[in-house]
Symmetry: none
Subunit: 253 residues, 2 copies
DNA sequence: TTAAAATTGATTATTTTTGATCAAAAGTAA
DNA sequence: TTACTTTTGATCAAAAATAATCAATTTTAA
């Protein structure tokens, strides 16, 4: 295994667990502690991780800590959905990410991709990805929604209209065979519409609890969606209804 | 467990419970009291917690102090300049804030104002003000400059052009009677120019070390500036030169 | 192919960290 | 105040981790 490979593995390992000792890394990669130390020294010099006595820690951005994402319900399923969705991102892609909590969980997996560009209105996503060298970030401007830690408003819509992405990954309040895509606020629905309109492919991330439920603002049809990613708890009759409408439903396992 | 990890644990523990004794921490982390004392000493020196007899307490204003932690040379002067500048902001103002470090320090003082709107390209400023109910925030969109934790690029310029502010508060790389305003990157200078162009009043925050110094990109004249805020270390001959050019130079004390 | 360069793991001297001890300082109660 | 207890910071020896060195191996270039 060469240095580049080890570097990548070390970075993802440290990213996942927060901190690791030289010996843990040595075991994990099957390399001698001496080599791991040399690697850590070099990687730390690049500023990609924090060298500690005995190991290394991931660098956290003290300035942007106010954007840490809140933990909600259904975390395990959401995590699986996010991982599945991230597999649909290829190196070099330009992608839209909205401010949904499941979409946020894609970040961790995106760090492995190379040369992708992320265009987002989510402040937690920005905070999470700002220190990843392989990802370039474009932040959508406009009014700040303090509760949702996101940007919205007409300026944001205008901003999105100025870009075209290969893929859009969006969360959604409700989706059903009868009413298509629904939201419970104008702000959200207009942002989501803009993402859909300006992306070649549209992927919806949605845990099974929201499928078949409708919110009160209808804003899009199923035909605009390329794939729906959801979890194995999805009712089979609901799935059938969606598939019959021509939607590609992918279950995360 | 190494110092960095302990530091993290100590800080979150103290944050949660408000205050903890050396022995409580010693138990919690499984380290000797001697080590905990050393840690508390070091962490307190960084200004991240308050050392008490027998333990430690949390500090009430954590975000700001973490910035103070990486304090540079002229910090005291910058703090005074920021405080002075903040006095020029009135309730109800719409203001531009750029991503200068001195401008950032205005945040603390702005929290006392009512009903102001802040339009900024600085991520730290946004992070600092996002939880202040009396301030509404507009984030400038565009490419993220990861090092400077700011937004820039042509989209950002366009965004600024869509707004008009009562006042603009800007930091600057160099200012002199001979060459006016100078910067050392195109990105910065174009953003600053946009702020100047779209604000009724322009205030420059600049510690005395940068006055009389020129960077290589000239981008504005002194006549565009309403007031220059600086510190008492300003050379009197330099001050005279600027005043003769018609600039209002205000010294922070 | 061979020679040169780079990488790796082991060895070792050096540095860093840690916990114990103890005198001095700080806090507490009478 | 004084006597007593707690906490502290300094010092030191043991333990842990590191950087430097070197030989063996692998890779690269000729």
């Amino acid at each position: 295994m060469n240095f580049q490979e080890r570097k990548k593995k070390i970075l993802t390992a440290v990213e996942e667990s927060g901190s690791l000792s030289v010996f843990e890394l040595s075991d994990k990669l099957g390399m001698s502690p001496a080599t791991i130390r040399r690697d850590l020294h070099d990687i730390a010099e690049e500023g990609l991780l924090l060298r500690t006595h005995g190991g290394a820690m991931k660098i956290e951005n003290p300035v942007l800590t106010s954007f840490v994402a809140k933990a909600g319900s259904n975390e395990e399923n959401k995590e699986k959905i996010a991982q599945l969705a991230a597999e649909y991102v290829a190196d070099g892609d330009i992608i839209f990410l909205d401010c949904g909590s499941t979409v946020f969980k894609m970040c961790r997996h995106l760090k492995k991709r190379n040369g992708i560009k992320v265009i987002t209105n989510s402040l937690p996503i920005m905070a999470e990805l700002i220190d990843v060298p392989s990802i370039s970030l474009n932040l959508i401007g406009g009014e700040i929604d303090k509760q949702r830690k996101a940007v919205h408003g007409h300026k944001a819509i205008e901003h999105i209209g100025g870009y075209h992405a290969h893929k859009a990954f969006i969360g959604i309040d409700g989706i059903s065979a009868q009413n298509g895509l629904t939201a419970h606020s104008e702000h959200e629905s207009s942002i989501t519409s803009a993402f859909i309109k300006n992306a070649s492919q549209v992927f919806v991330l949605c845990d099974s609890s929201k499928i078949g439920k409708d919110s009160h603002i209808k804003f899009g049809s199923l035909s605009q969606v390329n794939s729906l990613f959801t979890d194995q708890d999805l009712d089979s009759s609901r799935k059938k209804q969606l598939v019959e409408k021509g939607l590609d439903v992918v279950i995360a396992k």
